[in-house]
C-alpha cells in the first residue's frame, strides 16, 4: 500500500474543513481527497491495492495515514475501544450537517 484516496462529501462544511486539515497534517503515506459521487453516503477510503474502507473503518484509515494520529488509529481499533469509536464516528457522520451549521462551516468545494 503506497497511497490512499479519500472520497468525502463536498457538500458538507465539516468535511471540507477536515479535508483542509488533513492537507496540513504530516502524512505517513500520500493521501488524496476527492469529492465522492452522490450515491454514496459514507466516507470511503480506497488504497492503491484495491482495498476499500467505508464508514467508521474509513475514519480510522484517515487517522492511520496521518503521522501524529497513527497511534490513535491503532488504539481506537483495539477491541476495547472499537465499539465506542464506531458509535462516535457514526454519530459524527450522521450529524455532520447540523455540526457544520453550529460551527459555521460552509462547503467550499
Amino acid at each position: 500500500m503506497t497511497r490512499l484516496v479519500i472520497y468525502y462529501d463536498d457538500r458538507c462544511g465539516l468535511c471540507c474543513a477536515l479535508r483542509d486539515w488533513i492537507g496540513r497534517q504530516a502524512q505517513l503515506l500520500p493521501v488524496e481527497c476527492r469529492p465522492k459521487s452522490t450515491g454514496e453516503n459514507d466516507l470511503v477510503v480506497e488504497a492503491d491495492t484495491g482495498e476499500v474502507w467505508s464508514g467508521d473503518s474509513a475514519w480510522l484509515m484517515v487517522m492511520w495515514a496521518l503521522r501524529d494520529y497513527r497511534s490513535w488509529a491503532y488504539r481506537l481499533a483495539s477491541p476495547w475501544l472499537l465499539p465506542t469509536a464506531r458509535a462516535a464516528f457514526a454519530k459524527l457522520s450522521e450529524y455532520r450537517g447540523p455540526i457544520s451549521c453550529r460551527l459555521g462551516l460552509t462547503a467550499n468545494g
Partner: protein, 137 residues
C-alpha cells in the same frame, strides 16, 4: 541514639547500591530498545538513554534522602531492624515502580517507531475489495 545512626547508615548502605544497580541494569538493557525505537540512530538513543538514567537517579536518590529521617525512638535492636526493613522495603517498592515506568516508556517508544514503518499493517480490515478494472467510484 546510636541505634538510629546505625539504622540510617545501614539504610543508605543498602538503598544507594540498589539504586545504582537498577539504574545500570536499565541503562545496559534499555539501549537495544531505544536504538530500535530511534531507527538505528545510536547517538540519539544513547543520549535519551542517558537522560532517562539521570532522571531515574535524581528521583530515587531524592526519595531515599527525603525518607531517611525518623521520629521513632529506637531502644532495642529489634526496633532498629524493623524500621530499617520498613524503609528499605519502601525504597525497593519505589525502585520497582520507577523500573516498570521506564520499561513502559521504552516499549512505548519502540511501539511508536514500529507503527510508523511503511510495512505497518492497517488498523482495521477493509470493508471490501475492488479489482483494478472496477476502478474508483
Amino acid at each position: 541514639m546510636s541505634y538510629v545512626l546505625y539504622t540510617y547508615l545501614a539504610y543508605l548502605a543498602l538503598s544507594l547500591p540498589t539504586t545504582i544497580w537498577v539504574a545500570r541494569t536499565l541503562h545496559k538493557n534499555g539501549r537495544a530498545f531505544l536504538i530500535d525505537a530511534f531507527h538505528g540512530q545510536e547517538t540519539l538513543a544513547d543520549s535519551v538513554n542517558h537522560l532517562l538514567v539521570v532522571g531515574f537517579y535524581l528521583i530515587n536518590v531524592g526519595w531515599i534522602t527525603m525518607t531517611l529521617r525518623t521520629q521513632q525512638a529506637l531502644d532495642t535492636p529489634r526496633q532498629a531492624v524493623e524500621l530499617l526493613s520498613d524503609k528499605v522495603g519502601t525504597v525497593l517498592f519505589v525502585l520497582g515502580l520507577m523500573h516498570f515506568f521506564n520499561l513502559y516508556l521504552f516499549s512505548k517508544f519502540r511501539r511508536r517507531a514500529l507503527e510508523r514503518l511503511s510495512t505497518a499493517p492497517p488498523p482495521i480490515a477493509p470493508t471490501r475489495l475492488v479489482t483494478a478494472s472496477e476502478g474508483a467510484k
